[in-house]
């Protein structure tokens, strides 16, 4: 059984313009000890999906429209408040891009870390202090004794981020959800934080759900990747295969537009023309159809299909792809299962 299963999740937001379907039928699984990357551009629904695992989507305006989330077999969306509270910070912890989402500005670092330890492990003040000091050192905070008595505003951005991560790690959660944890950090600090998260995983077998828009971070951290576009998962598979032979045209466009994949300095970068469709009234067919470069090579009947028929996320070899005419996968050498021979592509 997977540690985390998200099944056809639908989350909407009531807005003045109507119901905005931010997450529209997302299904994901994450095994214990593994890292799943949830990637996509602004507004694709990745953060809302992640927040819903701990039921952190504000309601109103947010609203569960359907689907299930199971953590270790438990139905999270229907869990009583007390049981949910037990889950948060014990079995599942979350870190955010903005550390002040997790830190309380009016309490010292010692008090905040101590509270977690008292709650989670029933440690007394002395034991909690010792454990907190040790963890601050582990996350690379210099002079941890001085930091314990500090308030969040007295710390630099990188330090606050580390304190938040220390707090999440102190829980020794079975699942750590990280929403763009390193986006606001400098690259050398980002490298330290990523290293730390890998260490945690190695030592405690923590599963990671990693939300990011940075494909470099995905390559570095993840076992599996789910690419989201306009509230849907469009491709889901192992990270190396995804980077080598993306099957969905959106994934390919996303990877190709990275400057480091350019033909050379100042060479024209591939772009994805157009904009994401409105999630107030998404198109009936494929949500990416209007911007799809691949569609130009299709015949009229096939194009009709893209525009009018909603593609489901289906297994095709080792990949899950939501596209009527996926790009051909390259049969990677040494893959044990038999890859389906190039399925008819116009």
């Amino acid at each position: 059984m997977a540690l985390l299963e998200i099944d056809r999740l639908q989350i909407g937001f009531d807005t003045e313009a109507g119901l905005l379907r931010a997450v529209d039928g997302v299904s994901l699984t994450l095994q214990a000890g593994q890292t799943l990357g949830l990637v996509g551009e602004s507004g694709c629904g990745k953060s809302v999906t992640a927040a819903s695992v701990l039921r952190l989507v504000p309601s109103p305006p947010g609203r569960l429209l359907g689907g299930e989330i199971r953590f270790d077999g438990r139905d999270i969306l229907r869990l009583p408040a007390a049981a949910l509270q037990q889950l948060r910070g014990r079995e599942v912890a979350m870190i955010f891009q903005d550390p002040m989402t997790s830190l309380n500005p009016v309490f010292t670092i010692e008090r905040q870390l101590g509270e977690v330890l008292a709650l989670r492990f029933g440690l007394d003040r002395r034991a909690a202090r010792a454990r907190a000091l040790e963890m601050l050192r582990t996350v690379g905070i210099a002079e941890p004794e001085a930091r314990l008595v500090a308030y969040p505003h007295e710390l630099s951005g990188g330090m606050k981020q580390r304190v938040m991560i220390a707090m999440a790690l102190l829980c020794e959660p079975r699942l750590l959800i990280a929403d763009e944890p390193s986006t606001a950090l400098d690259v050398t600090v980002q490298a330290q934080i990523l290293h730390l998260m890998r260490e945690l995983q190695r030592r405690h077998g923590t599963a990671l759900l990693f939300i990011t828009h940075d494909m470099g971070v995905v390559a570095e951290m993840c076992d599996q990747v789910a690419v989201m576009y306009a509230g849907r998962v469009v491709e889901r598979r192992a990270v190396a295969e995804l980077f080598e032979s993306p099957r969905h045209p959106y994934t390919r466009g996303l990877l190709a537009s990275m400057p480091r994949h350019a033909a050379g300095p100042k060479a024209e970068l591939p772009t994805i023309e157009g904009t994401v469709p409105s999630l107030l009234a998404p198109p009936p067919g494929c949500r990416f159809a209007e911007r799809c470069a691949h569609r130009a090579g299709l015949d009229a009947a096939a194009r009709q299909r893209c525009e009018h028929e909603d593609p489901a996320l289906v297994a095709d070899g080792e990949a899950w792809v939501a596209c009527h005419f996926p790009l051909p996968g390259q049969a990677a050498p040494g893959v044990s299962h038999v890859a389906p021979a190039g399925k008819g592509r116009a």
């Binding site: 551009e41 602004s42 690379g140 210099a142 630099s156 951005g157 990188g158 330090m159 400098d186 690259v187 050398t188 600090v189 980002q190 490298a191 330290q192 990523l194 290293h195 828009h213 940075d214 494909m215 470099g216 971070v217 995905v218 390559a219 570095e220 993840c222 990270v239 190396a240 980077f243 466009g253 996303l254 537009s257 990275m258 400057p259 480091r260 994949h261 350019a262 300095p265 100042k266 024209e268 970068l269 591939p270 772009t271 994805i272 904009t275």
Partner: protein, 346 residues
């Protein structure tokens, strides 16, 4: 600087006698006030003796982490901040000595693009008014002529003429950054200082703006000072590179050589911290530890010494000067142990 011109070398003078921009030993200090009387108790050395040249039609990438002084440097060049000391020459003319008409002309020739396409455009002005404003301020052309120029500028950056009547809030991040570019181009500058111009954009939109900037450089012979923390973006656009750490340039030279054979230990650490973007070739080992020290408490010697794996006692004595590398006069690094550490990874 090697004139190993890219295939699309810019029109206009390729190598003029005096470079477009010359910066000589530029300093920018901010006083730090404390106590009830607000007395000056110290100073922050945001820019501490920076020198470089930038030729017409070329791009100098300025990289470094938060607090390294790269944005202050850009703002000081633009005279948004007055330098504490040092010289800035534009086309051989000292900016500090320019008055009246000369100063107005110099100001037209240097323009700026900002990071945040949300806050750098006045929400109460239409796009047409925003792009036209510099023309009005500088009294260029009749009203009809100005409007015609605005239409052409919008077309140049890929926006329809109808967008003139609309407000910034109606546009996406990428479109707003195009508006910012159109405004910067209105006065036909020769130098554009771009401070993190694509950092707030999604990757597929980022590639569109980068393509636009590269095309404009080719067509108009623009020089860019391209300030960014994103090394893969800088690698794509820069001809030359300067790496800053705590207010000083620690390494500079032709971008290709600097990326291939970084000499300064900080540059090496910075390049190693960038995620690999290849899931099959992940980084190994422990990343550089620590954070950039506060610019208020700059170490006496080499500012990087406290984090440097190669630092010795001699490094902590006085700040090292930039010196050319053996056999490569265009490539300089500020490290007294260049010869000892050469070839020890990187």
């Amino acid at each position: 600087m090697s004139p190993a011109a890219p295939a699309h070398s810019a029109p206009g003078p390729v190598a003029t006698a005096s470079p477009l921009l010359q910066v000589r030993d530029l300093h920018k200090h901010y006083p730090v006030r404390g106590g009830v009387f607000g007395r000056t108790v110290g100073s922050v050395q945001a820019v501490a003796g920076v020198s470089f040249t930038l030729a017409a039609g070329r791009t100098l990438g300025l990289v470094g982490e938060s607090g390294c002084g790269k944005s202050t440097l850009g703002r000081t060049l633009m005279r948004l901040e007055a330098p504490s000391s040092g010289q800035v020459l534009f086309g051989g003319q000292d900016l500090a000595e320019a008055r009246g008409d000369t100063l107005r002309r110099l100001r037209r020739e240097m323009q700026m693009i900002f990071q945040d396409p949300y806050s750098s455009l006045n929400p109460r002005m239409t796009v047409g008014e925003i792009v036209r404003e510099p023309l009005v301020v500088h009294g260029i052309d009749s009203k009809a002529g100005q409007l015609q120029r605005v239409r052409e500028l919008l077309q140049t950056v890929g926006l329809a003429p109808q967008t003139m009547e609309r407000y910034p809030s109606e546009f996406s991040g990428g479109q707003r950054q195009r508006i910012g570019v159109a405004r910067a181009l209105a006065l036909e500058p020769r130098l554009v200082v771009a401070d993190e111009p694509v950092s707030a954009l999604d990757v597929s939109v980022q590639s569109q703006v980068l393509n636009l900037m590269v095309r404009l450089q080719r067509e108009r012979g623009l020089a860019y000072l391209f300030i960014s923390h994103d090394l893969s973006v800088v690698r794509h656009v820069a001809d030359d590179l300067a790496v800053m750490y705590l207010g000083r340039i620690v390494e500079k030279g032709p971008a290709g050589r600097l990326f291939q054979a970084p000499a300064h230990p900080y540059t090496r650490a910075l390049l190693q911290a960038v995620p690999s973007a290849d899931p099959r070739r992940r980084r190994q080992g422990v990343p550089l530890q620590g954070e950039t020290p506060s610019p208020m408490a700059t170490p006496a010697g080499c500012a990087f010494a406290p984090r440097c794996p190669h630092a010795t006692e001699a490094c902590r004595q006085s700040p090292p000067a930039l010196q050319p590398l053996d056999g490569d006069a265009a490539h300089e690094a500020a490290c007294i142990r260049l010869h000892e550490i050469d070839g020890s990874g990187g």
